[in-house]
Symmetry: D2
Subunit: 335 residues, 4 copies
């Protein structure tokens, strides 16, 4: 394949996640990283140099007809603007979650994407995790009959700085948005009721930032399937990412991933590794597979699995959960 | 120990659970089974014969001064009456859960017990399960710091007949009363809010009986500890009894018990046993240990671990959960 | 059943294992413990009192026609004599392993048993362990096709006193005799070659007693099935009793049993319980089930599963392994 | 880094393993794949094209001074010749196991390497497996005290074609050479005795090829540490690669790796994935890490972890095991 046949790509954001996407797309036979854009010039230069790409501004990147796709990994407050401008420029878009913290603004992005007729994929990488994806495939194949109940455990090893929490949109939009997407993906239906409650045990700094560190959410679909999500900003034993779905004929469990399979039998106990340290390690394969999927879809003209509509639905649930928690009551809804 | 020094016991109810309690107390060095009482004479006779006891009426049993304790394993609608009469007769009481389906009537029993000054233990056998008890001990020893979040999975292999469901008091009083006790026991605090929702996916006969087969409950303590309970009347893979508690310094998990430790590595998968079939198998040791505890407490004059107050508190939570589910809203409470 | 219809039993040996057998047979509906015999009078008295039996001498017990069965749990050096005398008196015999440390003497016992036409069961309790027995049943049902290779791990928590080791007959007769029985039971064939080697790393006191603490044995059956046994007198993590058998269609593994199913997720690792502490705990059920089997067989006139011939075959393998280790060479054999 | 500063590499062999090494070295910042050599031209062309390298003959590759290292992944019978010629040409060498099937010839290679003063690393990739390497690191850190006993389970999913077996050098040189290397690496000592036995149950074609499919090997070190290796050419449940080491203070186990962490709870059993399918999947990371290590060592001038001496030691043990099996006796040795 000649360079001119490949899909020229601009990456917006050269931070942690931008680097990962850049590294992954560099391995794709149909993608070619051409520009790196970042407000912090040294970051852009370093990443561009590593992959033989050039540093550019947003305008330059979007003006170049060789750029057929953009990967948005910049800060959340830039997502909506970049989506709208990229859509207007006719570029295919891969954007990190969330579309925006404001639901109205996110909806406007969806309208822009639809109007432009471009592909827009939101980075719900968990759907690409080999364990989660295998579970979903087996569920869809009917292995456990109809799904009836989903239990999701989603915990971070330790809370981010208070400053981050204050502008994060709150735990439901910042952390649980992934779990709301898991809910919709696994149960295959929309919520008709949402209840959320929470607290910040032993984490006064989270409460001081107007947020909660621990949350318990219950969702119900029109079909009567139930979902419980439990989360916390701190788990002393590390990053905990599990879910299990009860069906009419059995249960499918998606467990944590351990760095090694060493088991130590000692004088006190038998012990194995803690889970993979954090999302970059836990979802290493998932990040690679979602980018592969995006460029495969572009190359083959097939639809992407996680659309901007998925991004908005998850955001709406996060908003409702936030409201439920703040008002202390369950909400009827039809997301 | 001579017979006259042992604690004479009457067992009320010679059904499945009565037989188990009779067998267990027969092994206790301080207990002596003297009477078996059952409305169905052949049951009473068979059980009495097996243990060298006599068949009697409630009146006869309670009138005999040699009877110092009663074990109530008869049907739920007889519990309150038997508790009140036994208390009035000065007998120590071991009674299966629930005290009664009606909270007011249960409270009246507590008053009667208190007035009589007799010991009254409610059969929350799960607290005596070796796995659950070991977890609780380690929690109390501070191994994971302060408890912050409890997730309970409690599922039956298959639903009881519709006729049973109709008079069971509903899933919250019939099944989850045990889980409400686990909540109080593990988190060590009372609920300030309760939210319950449910459905009967694929089980129209349960819905027809006015009940739900699947329920999701969320509780919150005054200290901000959260609890999620998920339950179902049917789990194709068997009886599922697990919980896990997140603390500020780690997590403690109580897993299912398997009949054997055989693992088969086959052409399709690596497989191990399903959990113990149902509560009689799963809690075999727990049933023995709770009876041992009751008679140890009587012999030593020490308090019992699961009192009639515990029975009432769990019942109150079941009542609130039922109301929350029926009304579709979260309830503030102070149980 | 009246007392005269029950099988009168004398227990020889009121030590640790004698107490366990007495307790178990006391629960059997067809057995009645009548005499306890022990050279140490207080032991005999205590155990007899506990079960409402009388203290007796060997002569008295064997002379009483009401005694139809004996349970031999006295020291190893008394087994052969008691077997021969009990057989001569026409009593059914349950005897702890080994029959004797001397193969010739053990064979003489088998001759005596055969001549007397009495039942004689040797206490290879592991065959009655629920996990091991379930594995065997599944193997026999063809779940993994033909067995081809057996790997046995058999380790004690810590070595016995040097004085015990010196008179134990050595590690092969003292510890591995159980594993040789597992080999014969699981692979269903006799050995045609035996190789054993060993050492006493970090345990000079074992070497000083003329024994080894760690041994590795390899056996081969006529059919070409292979077996490796690894053992040690010390495992810092406790009592390790596992085996796994590879068949033409899969693998069956028999794992250790843990006291509880608690799993702790901590800052360093995820940990579960060590195995059950030692043989009395690990094989609690097995001891009960083997005694139940013995009295069931007597009551029903059916054969016992572990005969004196099994005891001799295992002893012969232990003798060959000892020789192989001492001479440093593999031995052809036809046990 | 400019191209002229990078380490020019020629890959010999463009088959399955050659492709893997080429892919891995292409990602190394200090390595540059320049030539691909293969007797089958289309294979060489395809692999060269993929990595922007040229097709060459052995002569051309070795004559080019820009080539500083060679990676030998061609058929076993070419290894010795290529090692000797590469050493003579002053190239650093990475060679797949075994050095040669003939021990004398392998030793001649070691002499040639030493004389030339070049780096020569043998591809014992298992030492680089994250699980095995983590175990080794913890062992070396003293976590379980002194190693006393090693049990290795090493089984292939299904036997190779009879034609392959016939020229493979036999199961000990073809399969177990990896396990002999594990023995030396983990126990950190050389063997003083070797015993091997085997059979070909249900695999007459293996026996017809003069080999065995199932083998049981026992090794003993000078320090009295024991090792048992069990192997088979067929395991219906897949590729089985485990070992465990007993130390004076505990046990460390290295388990299989599963493709996903999905667990299915069904009506019959609870089941998880079989192990990774075969060596290419199981040791994917290990293959990448060994190549990274090789080029890191070249770039930094540090020694490699698996030398040609390691290759010869493992080969000597394979030869001794073959002899032990053929002669039916244990062999003293001082490898």
């Amino acid at each position: 394949m000649t360079d001119s046949q490949r899909i020229g790509v601009a990456v917006f954001g050269a931070g942690r996640i931008g680097k990962i996407h850049a590294g992954n797309l560099a391995r794709h036979p149909h993608a070619q990283l051409r520009y790196v854009v970042d407000v912090h010039a040294p970051f852009a230069e370093e990443l561009a140099a590593k992959h033989g790409a050039a540093v550019a501004t947003v305008e330059q990147a979007l003006a170049d007809p060789a750029i057929r796709a953009v990967v948005i990994g910049s800060s959340t407050d830039t997502h909506a603007d970049l989506i709208q401008r990229s859509a207007a420029a006719g570029k295919a878009i891969f954007c990190e979650k969330p579309v925006d913290l404001d639901v109205e603004r996110a909806r406007a992005c969806a309208v822009a994407v639809k109007k432009a007729g471009v592909t827009c994929m939101i980075g719900f990488q968990r759907r690409f995790d080999p364990t989660f994806a295998a579970l979903k495939q087996r569920l869809d194949a009917g292995e456990i009959g109809t799904p009836e109940m989903l239990v999701v455990t989603s915990r971070d090893p330790s809370p981010p700085p208070a400053a981050y929490i204050a502008r994060s949109g709150g735990v439901f939009k910042d952390m649980l948005i992934h779990d709301f997407d898991i809910f919709r993906w696994i149960l295959g239906g929309e919520a008709v009721s949402v209840h959320a409650t929470g607290a910040s045990p032993n984490l006064p700094e989270v409460a001081a930032a107007g947020d909660i560190s621990h949350a318990a959410v219950t969702l119900r679909t029109r079909d009567g399937a139930l979902c419980q999500i439990n989360t916390s900003r701190r788990a002393a034993y590390g990053y905990d990412q599990r879910f299990e779905v009860l069906g009419s004929k059995g249960l499918l469990q998606a467990g944590n991933v351990r760095p090694t399979q060493v088991v130590a039998w000692g004088e006190q106990a038998i012990s194995s590794d803690k889970p993979e340290a954090f999302f970059l390690e836990r979802y290493r394969d998932a990040y690679a597979l979602e980018i592969e999927h995006f460029f495969d879809a572009l190359a083959n003209g097939t639809p992407v699995r996680t659309t901007i509509e998925d991004g908005i639905k998850a955001l709406e649930l996060a908003e409702l959960a936030t409201q439920s928690w703040r008002e202390g009551r369950a909400l009827e809804c039809s997301v």
